[in-house]
């Protein structure tokens, strides 16, 4: 018992030795932090719908205008990811705060300026998988929905992977639109495709082995490509 109290005493004494500096820093950062939060919140409310207390699609459109980014731009999706937004087309205060704090942006201009950094962050391999999975989940609108229709998937693929894996995306989108076996794509197949892009040499597909646990849709995709060649 005595020990802990003496420890406490020690810390206190250390603090009291540099009391002025620490206090200043603390109060300064504390003040700055609360200021930042205030600005973030007020920015939020400038787009939010008053009755629901959330930014709704209309608000997001306005945000996009202000950011000079198209609302179908992948960077909005990235922003949603950073916020860990749950519902497509809506941002809650908590999500907004999370996102902007993480980006250290409390004004529209700062937010605009951080967008390239956000892109870089997302493209980092450790984050990209997470972002890729998020993109799928974000598009599930209904409560028990587990899969996304083909057309939406095609658009999502183009948006999310188009810059990285142009050729694979183009072929796969083409295949998806032509085939009739699948009307929807689920998370497992979605993630499988990303793995495919990363691991399989394209377009020769020489290291693809259908006997492994690749989703069946990819087996069929590979067969379709090989038939065309």
């Amino acid at each position: 018992m005595r020990r802990s109290s003496s420890r406490k005493g020690q810390t206190n004494s250390t603090a009291s030795n540099n009391s002025s500096a620490v206090d200043l820093f603390r109060s300064a950062s504390g003040k700055a932090a609360s200021k930042e939060l205030e600005r973030i919140d007020s920015l939020f409310y400038s787009y939010a719908n008053n009755s629901s207390g959330m930014i709704e699609p209309e608000g997001i459109e306005n945000l996009c205008l202000d950011l000079e980014v198209d609302h179908t731009d992948v960077r909005i999706l990235m922003l949603a990811w950073k916020m860990k937004a749950e519902k497509q087309g809506y941002f809650t205060l908590e999500e907004w705060r999370r996102g902007l704090k993480g980006l250290r942006a409390d004004t529209i201009n700062k937010l605009k300026k951080t967008l390239p950094d956000l892109e870089t962050e997302v493209k980092r391999p450790s984050n990209f998988v997470d972002f890729y999975a998020f993109a799928f989940r974000y598009c599930l609108t209904e409560e028990k929905q587990k899969s996304i229709d083909i057309e939406s998937i095609c658009q999502l693929l183009d948006l999310v992977l188009g810059s990285h894996f142009r050729a694979q995306v183009d072929y796969f989108v083409d295949y998806l639109r032509t085939q009739t076996d699948y009307k929807v794509i689920n998370m497992d197949q979605w993630m499988g495709f990303y793995r495919f892009c990363n691991e399989i040499s394209f377009p020769d597909l020489s290291n693809y082995n259908a006997e492994l646990a690749w989703p069946l849709v990819l087996d069929n995709f590979v067969e379709w490509i090989k038939a065309k060649q």
Binding site: S147, N186, D188, E211, L212, A213, P215, L216, D219
Partner: protein, 741 residues
């Protein structure tokens, strides 16, 4: 021991005396006239040695005597034995050697008896070689070492001469070779190194030469005959004069030169090799081939392979034959071609199974080859029908009344037995079960089964081969029929006892247990009033028996005997319930349109067209159709054909059977999906975590008794189970699955 005070025998003196004895012995050996040793003479010689050895030193002459003993041999050998051998050659030399060896052994025997005392104490004390050994060693070192090469060559020459057909003196050779063995004094070294090795080499080259000629000149059967003969002769040779230990080595060498070296060439000889022999049914030659090649390591593998290829080719030819016949003939007789096909496959199986048991010694390698061959072509389709369906049709033909096969009971049992055995080769066993069940239901419900015992018999056999689960539904079906008959009796009693319950028509109802029978679509047929009453009454009766079961009426399976009051004469028509319901409509109206009939009967177009066609466009025109075209269309109208007549008083108007193939295949595919699901879940539940390839493998194994699931189907089910949260992919390793409890 009392001291013998006798005179000291000096060495020279004693040895002189011994020499005389030795000289006598030599003369005996040379065949010179000489009397045998008397016991006295023997005693004297023995005692002389004894005395000289027991004398006190320096008169203890044991050492010297031991040496002189050896020298005696040496002297004799150098002076007499060797010269006589050196001057002779070949067979004469061999004879001389045998003689000299025999003599030597006698000499050793006698001398060691004379010098015996040395053996008892001196040799043991000084750990020296015993007298016998000394004597034999002398021969070995002086004679054997010198002549062994010549002897060996002479023997081998004789052996080769015998191989060429000449008569040789076998007992001479035996004696010569005995020398090689005996001279080893307990070890086989001399025999092996000084004779056997060369003999084996010589034999190898001898047969190598022969084989290189034969393989070119002779056909496979002739070559094999020669090979068999050679092996027999060599074994014979061993038993007559070679040492028994040579047998295995010699046989191996001969086999090597004749069969291993030229094995492939022999088997693959174009017009007489294994393939040709099988083709020409040369049973004896094939048996010989088996006998010869089974002794060679892996010798049977190529034979089994050719056998498998041959059987596969024969089977595939049958498939092709059936295909060709089917495409040439009209559709209606396609069935009989398929019967012929199954028959031929059975015959093929019998034929080649006999080969396996009779020619191939029931060897597992050939059982396997036969099985694999049959598995290849038994799973091929014949004119669009799977083998599973063909086999089920074949059974149906045997088991139904009026089937094309007219066989005795014994022949039927035998055939059914063989059919079940063929089933083992078919991978889609579940498909067979489903077709069989469909046809069985038809036999049972339309009273087409020829013989109850046979029906039960085949079910027993199927159960034995495929397990209880395979036949449980079928057995249920047969049981249902028995129960149904009982039930009908109860129903008739109920009717008797209840005057109010009077259907007005003779009614027989067969109650089936849903789970056992194939699924039939029930339809809400618009029944005529008379039949409605029947249904009601039966329902009441049934409710007295049990309240917990729901009755679904399958009118499509019913039959109706209905009187057609035609103008010429009344004829009894045996029709299906649907047809009867349609006909009864004409009691109220003379003429009905297609749509009117459809409304009244409440049937789907495809059923209605079929039934109206059977009544208006087929063999018996009970109804007249307007327009009088070949097929029924929705615009047609129908009228009762009062002018209809036939010489028979009772005619059957069957409905053409619907092609059930598509439905069966669909049903089986559905069941397979469930089966694969269940199997995957079962495996994952017990393993918890498993790699993809292993899961697929275990799944295939589990299901192999009933069908061969394809990898894609399994993958699809796995993905489905992932979506339904039974499994998940491992986060780190996408090829690994986890069971989600």
């Amino acid at each position: 021991m009392t001291m013998n005070h006798h005179k000291i025998v000096e060495l020279e003196e004693g040895w002189d005396f011994m020499q005389k004895g030795i000289a006598k012995l030599k003369r005996i050996l040379e065949g010179l006239p000489e009397s045998h040793f008397s016991s006295e003479e023997y005693m004297m010689l023995y005692t002389t040695i004894y005395n000289m050895c027991t004398q006190k030193p320096p008169h203890d002459y044991s050492q010297a005597l031991y040496e002189k003993y050896g020298d005696a041999f040496e002297e004799y050998i150098s002076s007499t034995v060797l010269p006589s051998l050196r001057e002779k050659h070949d067979e004469y030399m061999l004879r001389e050697l045998v003689k000299r060896w025999a003599n030597h052994k006698i000499m050793v025997r006698w001398l060691s008896r004379f010098f015996n005392y040395l053996d008892r104490y001196f040799i043991a004390r000084r750990s020296l070689a015993p007298l016998n050994e000394v004597g034999l060693t002398r021969f070995r070192e002086q004679v054997y070492q010198e002549v062994k090469g010549k002897v060996r060559d002479a023997v081998i020459t004789l052996i080769d001469q015998e191989r060429e057909g000449e008569q040789i003196d076998r007992s001479l050779l035996k004696h010569v070779l005995d020398i090689f063995v005996e001279i080893g004094m307990g070890q086989m070294e001399c025999y092996e190194e000084d004779f056997e090795d060369n003999m084996l080499k010589d034999s190898s080259s001898y047969y190598s030469r022969k084989a290189s000629n034969w393989i070119v000149e002779d056909s496979c059967p002739d070559y094999m005959l020669k090979a068999e003969e050679c092996l027999k002769k060599e074994k014979d040779r061993v038993s007559h004069y070679l040492h028994s230990s040579s047998e295995q080595k010699l046989v191996e060498k001969v086999q090597n030169e004749l069969l291993v070296v030229y094995g492939t060439q022999l088997l693959e000889k174009e017009h007489s090799g294994c393939h040709a022999l099988l083709r020409d049914d040369k049973v004896e030659d094939i048996s010989r081939m088996y006998r010869l090649f089974c002794k060679i390591p892996k010798g049977l593998d190529p034979v089994a392979n050719i056998f498998k290829q041959h059987v596969t080719a024969e089977g595939t030819a049958l498939v092709q034959q059936a295909e060709d016949a089917a495409s040439n003939k009209a559709e209606s007789s396609v069935g009989s071609q398929e019967q012929v096909f199954v028959r031929k496959v059975i015959e093929l199986h019998d034929k080649y199974m006999a080969y396996v048991t009779d020619c191939f010694g029931n060897h597992s390698l050939f059982h396997k080859a036969l099985k694999e061959a049959f598995e290849v072509f038994c799973n091929k389709q014949v004119s669009g029908c799977s083998s599973a369906e063909l086999l089920a049709s074949f059974c149906d033909n045997i088991l139904k009344k009026g089937g094309s096969e007219k066989l005795t009971d014994e022949a039927i049992e035998d055939t059914l037995d063989k059919v079940v055995k063929l089933l083992a080769y078919i991978s889609d066993k579940d498909l067979f079960a489903e077709f069989y069940r469909k046809k069985l239901s038809r036999r049972l419900l339309f009273d087409k089964s020829a013989n109850d015992d046979h029906e039960r018999l085949i079910l027993t056999k199927l159960k034995q081969q495929c397990g209880g689960q395979f036949t449980s539904k079928m057995e249920g079906m047969v049981m249902d029929l028995t129960l149904a008959r009982e039930n009908q009796n109860h129903f008739e009693e109920y009717l008797k006892n209840n005057a109010s319950a009077n259907p007005g028509i003779d009614l027989t109802v067969t109650v089936l247990t849903t789970g056992f029978w194939p699924s039939y679509k029930s339809s809400d047929l618009g029944l005529p009033a008379e039949m409605v009453k029947c249904v009601e009454i039966f329902k009441e009766f049934y409710e007295t028996k049990t309240k917990h079961r729901k009755l679904t009426w399958i009118y499509s399976l019913g039959t109706c005997n209905i009187n057609g009051k035609f103008e010429p004469k009344t004829i009894e028509l045996i029709v299906g319930t649907y047809q009867a319901a349609a006909l009864v409509l004409f009691n109220a109206s003379d003429r009905l349109s297609y749509s009117e009939i459809k409304t009244q009967l409440n049937l789907a177009d495809e059923d209605l067209v079929r039934l109206l066609q059977s009544l208006s466009c087929a063999k018996y025109r009970i109804l007249n159709k307007e327009p009088n075209t070949k097929a029924v269309t929705p615009n047609d109208s129908f009228e009762f054909n009062s002018k209809f007549t036939d010489r028979m008083r009772r005619i059957r108007i069957p409905l053409p059977p619907v092609d059930e193939r598509k439905k069966v295949v669909e049903d089986v595919d559905k069941d397979r999906r469930y089966a694969i699901d269940a199997s995957i879940v079962r495996i994952m539940k017990s393993r918890k975590v498993l790699g993809h390839q292993q899961l697929v493998m275990e799944c295939v194994e589990q299901l192999s008794r009933m069908f061969k699931p394809d990898f894609k189907a399994i993958k699809k089910r796995i993905e489905d189970l992932i979506t339904r949260d039974y499994l998940e992919r491992d986060k780190e390793n996408p090829n690994l699955y986890r069971y989600l409890a």
